[in-house]
Symmetry: C2
């Protein structure tokens, strides 16, 4: 069965690569930046737009607050980055927020962070793909009209690529990421140059519409709430910032310093892009609304509201349509890359959780493609469910998105504060103490800041969707808790105790039984091997399913020079498993300290369809014999010629290798 | 994995029954008739209708030929039954046509019969279910409007019931079959009594329409072809007649005579119903057309053409609507029963083919529910495909149906002729010779007759659909041939040959390796068991996936009183399988005549989800170790408390048990 499932898996996953060794290359900063930054940078594609969308509820006047909200988001981002630079120095092992929370706040906090991150990965895929389709759909209307299906298809393609094991290369990350950075920079600079240097009056198409506010004038508390919501949505720009802290081991030495520098670089690029987009949008008068058909008066009948980025590109590169297309393409590409990030990060986090026994143990070992596959499928189906449920609307999905990130940020920062406090208790060196106190101040500011944002996010978004994310986190938390409890209870059951010593005392007799279906090479080998274990009793048994065949076997046996006696077990109902079980039970009942070793000759084959044709009865029997106490089951393999082809297959690269430093 | 698949299977199949023994009850004739006759009798529900439908192409005048065609079909049926009475006496083992063809004409003929029968089973399900929905749809218009979906749903429900293992009881067969026989008899007798005794002028609703022929006057060769086609379609009445010859072992003694008597009874009932339906239809003037909207002039706008049986019932029981409903219901029921027959017969035939190594071996052993399940799923999906492709139109499906039956009939009859000829060569007793000569005459007539029908069927139906059935048979034939060839080649490879003797010579050294992940009870038991096999070398190895854990294990090991040395294998890439494989290879390379026995402690658990949490790495390792020559893999099970609940589960009853004589 294990071979059969290998076969079934191979249909989906493709043949394992033949690779003798995976080289472990450390990443220089210029490659590390694109590998880890795509997620964080890509969020500038939707975060500014979401600020304008939320503000549009209060009408055009409120747009004047956008730059201030943008500044607040940028400030939070820089504070978070300053905090994470401390994390990177203190925890260079790559465990990230989960490790920090577990170490400093205990397993419950750690598990909370883990649940938040797992949900977040799913939402990263859903949001990024939806935004990618909205952006490319701004240049290609057909994609926009069917964006749900395109987003679903893209998720499934990405999942399939990851299942088959795409090789991550630095280039694959570098080209789209740098193309995005360069493309956006050119657009922003050329836009500002036209306006402020050349004096060209740039006006977005939507600038001439009249925007109707949804509820008339928004005042007082309602306005504050609205601004808070806009700020929450804009905080989506921070997602992905924590990625580098999980990837420190993949950096070149000095690892922590290089990682901290990359982190700073990332923060500067991201805040620059964020503010640049907001300012340019204000300068060219872009108007963008949640419900364009109702809110934008004066828009043509068939007006299709493009994404903010697309509107900027269209206006800046007016008369040069390739500009819009290029910007839409690189934006979509970096968003797809961000989604792929989740496909890589998910199994890595899963592996760490498995090590701590919150997920099935085998997820921990590398090269377990099946385990990785389950993670990828879980992620893909979760993301597809969200995309379909929210019709690939970024604005709706974003309501669920940011809770998880800020739960993780906040717990990690308070964890860091505790970390420094603990270290300060024993540290005596004045210079080191000074650094620690400074770091603790930074992390405290980080904690206060992210904690406040978390409260704002939960308050402004709970009703409109955040509750779904929180519910999902709770469910994951519960499941992982149960898995952990199960492992703990099994571990207690298995502990070596003196009381159970009789269970493991040296058995007094070894009764060997060789299962025979025919007198051929595998049987002869099994007999020889069984004899090599020098049992007290050695006998062969055969189950008589077909009278004629059994008679022939007995006849051949008697005429051969095999000295082991052959017992025939009757099977009136043409079963194999039960008669053998009954026989073994009878042997063990007579003398309870006897061990029965059942030798089963097995054919080893090279094709999955051969596996269907062989060994099925043996597999079932093995499965049942395991339930008998004092019975050992020994497989004596006979390698058929066809098995040669499978011998040299080696495990292939696993998703997330790049961010653990495995590169081709 | 084998346990995991058990779990997955259980989700679909339900928990195995706890049953200690299956009783083997032989069937009295009054139960054997319904068990084996539902298939053959049910075909009278559509065969007469198909005769009228084909004739309708030539207009109403041609209807006068229907009784003659009916008589021809009845004559063929009686001849076939007379022939099969010989089969039953000569081959009482239940192998049926496949056995007769194989024994007397060789394996190719046998395999041809088997392919024909397998395709036929699929079509039996498709045709019977489509006809059942058409009949019940005549009483319940809603079902008729969605007959494709109802037919598909019914097939899936039937498949699910068979997957879960419905217990077949004589009553379940007897009630619908006898209800059908009684219902139809009452309808026919009451109809004729009203017309010919009471003089009530019964007229079907459709009698007053004017029927337009499709092609004007049909004359000469075209008319002959049409009549031949009508006869071919009417021959569908013969399907299912061979069922009894497969079920002789389930009869009470004298088995063959009882089976032959039941066969005769079945033939008399079927021909009576067939002729009765045709005569009554003529008497009340039923008009039934392939395209009622075009052909039936004078029919109301929303005219929905009911089945022939329903039209008879409606007319005979005029003013008593329950009559129509009852007839439609029992007709549908016996048709569902006929479909279920295929679900039972398919795995039985599969088991016989597996015995002869044309299908995977394990299909042969009883109680292999997984194997049965695959057969049931194959059958269900095949039938669903046909139903959907032909929109549940009986008239279209019937074009494919009858080829297989008559291929089987014809080959079986010529096989019987050969059988008698061979026996006559040695038989000297005059009385016995007389009986044999007579039997040979009957089978020769049977062969000529069925052979002629086969030619007529192929000629008249090849273009309109029979080619699909023939293609499917060819494909199955090819696949089974390949499977057989594979088994033969493996068998040659495995034959004990002197040249390979060194492979099986007594190994000189037994090197035992116990795989350790932790120092707990299962490990201690594995060590004790390994020591009981008295190996030349005994050592424990552990793969270091996590440094801290390994250090802890080594420390515990050193402080324990375990005397076996523990070797730590480094695993830089956190793999388990490859380091162990490398180690084992190194051991075997040093001394090629050494056997390495790898002892793997395994947890035996009671819930499928526990299986997901344990043993997965061990399973993968076992799968890979099988490819190494000179390596034996021994599972040392440790039964966790939760495994107790699974201990006493027993195999449940299998589909087709009733027709092999297993009854509750």
């Amino acid at each position: 069965m294990s071979k059969l499932s290998t076969a079934a898996r191979r249909l989906v996953l493709g043949r394992p690569f033949r690779s003798d060794k995976l080289s472990h290359t450390l990443l220089p900063k210029r490659i590390a930046l694109p590998v880890f930054a795509s997620d964080a940078l890509s969020s500038t594609a939707y975060a500014p737009e979401e600020i304008f969308l939320v503000l549009s509820v209060a009408g055009l006047a409120s747009y004047s607050m956008a730059p201030w909200i943008g500044l607040a988001v940028a400030a939070v981002m820089l504070i978070v980055i300053a905090s994470y630079r401390q994390n990177v120095h203190a925890y260079p092992s790559g465990g990230g927020d989960y490790e920090i929370a577990t170490t400093n706040l205990g397993p419950t906090a750690g598990l909370t962070v883990a649940s938040a991150l797992l949900v977040d990965y799913v939402l990263t895929v859903a949001v990024s793909m939806s935004s990618a389709m909205a952006n490319i759909g701004s240049a290609v209307p057909f994609i926009n009209q069917h964006k749900v299906w395109f987003a679903v298809a893209a998720i499934l393609v990405l999942a399939a690529l990851n299942l088959r094991g795409i090789r991550e290369s630095g280039t694959a990350f570098a080209i789209p990421t740098y193309a995005f950075i360069v493309g956006m920079s050119v657009m922003l600079i050329w836009g500002f140059v036209q306006i402020y240097v050349l004096g060209t009056p740039l006006r977005a198409e939507s600038a001439d519409f009249e925007m109707h506010s949804e509820h008339g004038d928004v005042l007082g508390f309602a306005l504050i709430f609205l601004v808070a919501r806009a700020f929450s949505s804009g905080s989506a720009a921070l997602t992905g910032v924590e990625a580098i802290s999980n990837g420190v081991p993949a950096f070149r030495k000095p690892k922590s310093r290089n990682a901290a520098t990359t982190l700073l670089l990332l923060g500067l690029i991201a805040t620059t892009l964020l503010m640049g987009i907001i300012m340019l949008a204000r300068a060219i008068g872009v108007q963008i609304a949640e419900r364009p058909a109702e809110q934008l008066v004066g828009a043509p009948e068939d007006y299709h509201q493009k994404t903010l980025i697309a509107q900027l590109a269209e206006t800046v590169f007016h008369g040069f349509p390739f500009g819009l297309f290029f910007i839409a393409l690189v934006t979509a590409l970096i968003l797809v890359l961000a989604a792929n990030t989740a496909f890589n990060g998910f199994p890595v986090l899963g592996s760490i959780l498995a090590q701590d026994r919150f997920l099935p143990r085998q997820l921990h070992t590398r090269g377990d493609r099946l385990a990785f596959s389950n993670g990828i499928l879980f992620l893909a189906f979760g993301a597809v469910a969200f995309v379909v449920a929210f019709q690939a609307e970024v604005t709706k999905l974003i309501q669920l998105y940011i809770v998880g990130v800020f739960v993780s940020f906040t717990l990690s920062q308070i964890g860091m504060v505790r970390h420094w406090t603990r270290l300060l208790r024993t540290e005596t060196d004045a210079a080191a103490r000074g650094r620690m106190v400074r770091a603790r101040v930074i992390n405290t500011v980080g904690f206060l800041c992210t904690g406040t944002v978390l409260i704002i996010v939960v308050v402004t978004k709970f009703v409109v969707g955040a509750w779904i994310a929180i519910l999902a986190m709770g469910a994951l938390f519960g499941i992982m808790k149960l898995i952990h409890r199960h492992y703990a209870s099994v571990s207690r059951e298995l502990e070596a105790r003196a009381a159970d010593a009789e269970d493991i005392v040296l058995p007094s007799r070894n009764h060997a039984v060789v299962l025979v279906s025919n007198l051929h090479m595998p049987t002869l080998r099994a007999l020889a091997y069984a004899r090599a274990t020098r049992p007290d009793v050695l006998e062969a048994i055969t189950v008589s399913v077909d009278d004629a065949e059994t008679r022939e076997l007995v006849h051949k046996w008697e005429n051969s020079d095999v000295s082991v006696p052959l017992k025939v077990i009757a099977s009136p109902y043409r079963e194999i498993t039960r008669p053998v079980l009954d026989y073994v039970k009878r042997v063990t009942k007579d003398s309870p300290r006897t061990v029965v070793t059942v030798f089963i000759p097995e054919y080893v084959v090279g094709h999955w369809w051969e596996q269907v044709l062989h060994n099925q009865s043996a597999l079932r029997l093995k499965g049942r014999l395991l339930f008998e106490p004092n019975v050992m089951v020994t497989s004596v393999p006979w390698q058929l010629t066809s098995s040669e082809r499978l011998k040299k297959m080696a495990p292939q690269s696993a998703p997330g290798d790049a961010r653990r430093g495995f590169l081709e």
